[in-house]
Symmetry: C2
């Protein structure tokens, strides 16, 4: 998917919602556990109920890897289901990969070519040659961790380097890399005031924003500083949506929560 297509979808659906498919067998409705592939069954029902309200889905690969080969099969089935049934959806492998050049190419192939994701999250610590192999894929996006929303996020990301915090240095360097038009950035929503500074460094790049909802971030605050003329934001919600219900009507409950967010987004977009 190209960035123009993503923007078109956002405007068509009046939504810049991304739904995180972080599926934990301990948390899904128990009646699903009897099905052949409970994780895929859960995802399928969530996707079918919410696809008109969201523009992106983001499975966190850790949740799948934790179940070994069975988990990888569920991931494969989920991405295939999305690509076959909802080709207009932007798909994100939240894998937080990053390795030396040659190895990053292997990862890029695994996620972009083998699994056919539109994008993958990547960690910046190993520098340019660990990220550029991902950027080399046309119409695929590399979503680089900049500022994460976890408690320890600032342990290193907040350290001052060259009078700037490290995460700003990451943004500044990254946009000089080859094929940087294929970059997006992860910026946690728990620090909405930071979006102002961030938009001075990356005025146009898309930002993937976790931390709205369960982690306490506020949608309006994020949008106030983070929106661009082409929207430029994907707001992720995982637990807040997918675990909204825990009975047979879980997908309906998820839809209600997704609708709440989509409606807030529609208001925000109307004022853009």
């Amino acid at each position: 998917m190209t960035q123009q297509e993503l923007i078109y979808q956002i405007k068509k659906k009046n939504s810049f919602l991304c739904i995180g498919l972080d599926v934990d067998l301990d948390k899904i409705p128990t009646h699903l556990l009897k099905s052949e592939d409970p994780i895929f069954e859960f995802n399928k029902q969530i996707i079918d109920a919410t696809h008109h309200l969201s523009v992106a889905y983001k499975p966190n690969t850790a949740f799948y890897e934790a179940y070994g080969i069975k988990g990888w099969k569920s991931l494969e089935k989920t991405i295939r289901y999305l690509n076959e049934n909802y080709p207009d959806i932007f798909t994100i492998a939240d894998a937080k990969r990053g390795d030396i050049g040659n190895t990053s190419t292997m990862y890029a192939k695994a996620f972009f070519e083998d699994l056919k994701f539109d994008s993958v999250t990547v960690a910046p610590y190993m520098g340019s040659d660990s990220v550029e192999p991902f950027l080399a894929f046309e119409d695929k996006f590399t979503i680089l961790l900049a500022l994460t929303s976890n408690k320890g996020g600032l342990d290193f990301q907040g350290l001052k380097v060259n009078e700037n915090e490290l995460y700003k240095e990451v943004l500044q360097k990254a946009i000089t890399w080859k094929n940087n038009q294929n970059l997006m950035f992860v910026v946690g929503a728990t620090k909405a005031e930071y979006f102002k500074d961030i938009r001075e460094i990356v005025p146009n790049h898309f930002l993937l924003v976790p931390g709205v909802g369960a982690q306490g971030g506020n949608l309006q605050d994020v949008c106030k500083y983070g929106l661009t003329k082409d929207v430029g934001l994907l707001i992720n919600s995982s637990r807040g949506i997918i675990y909204a219900g825990n009975n047979k009507d879980f997908a309906e409950k998820a839809k209600e929560k997704a609708l709440e967010l989509q409606q807030q987004m529609e208001v925000i977009l109307a004022n853009l």
Copy 2:
């Protein structure tokens, strides 16, 4: 495996060699491609030929993931083969993971409990709560990226923070984390002179050192500054050993290369 057991194995074998199992179907001898699982078959023969010369094996998970579910099966078979046949070997999942707390726990379970690796490599960018879930596992080791040997390694790792380079800050903070006795660090061999400073910060922790051989690092230089009274080093070689030959005698050729390194290590250990 405990650290004491690892040290015992090093002294018994007169070797602190780790062999990287970065298996690429384009590089292995073509006669193996006919077997049911060429990657596992390659690994099995390499391990059988070299296990008496090395104390550790390190599959880089990217190389397995690149082949999808088939690749994960090869990885599972490889780690199971090691654990069943060579329980004295220290095993490293070179996965460079790192995510928010809950998700890191999923990864830790996947590698430590499901696959039964002794250790896993982890990236520090997301801070303490992305690493501590790994450290909570007893007799399992978390090998944190500090200074990597790739070209772009210094892009961020070399930035000055608090008058120190970022990688030193990573070392300094990490050793204050809970269960830091379960930490080891990745320090690339291409900058042997850096080991002096590093040993001032982490005098006793084990360092996993890639970059000897193919990437140009020098074993003697690394040992001069990096060795501790308990050795404290695992020197990794991947391509230099596993691709030493490309015919039916590839395992024998790998053994010769491993033996060269082991003999150099034996001399170094004799002078410790």
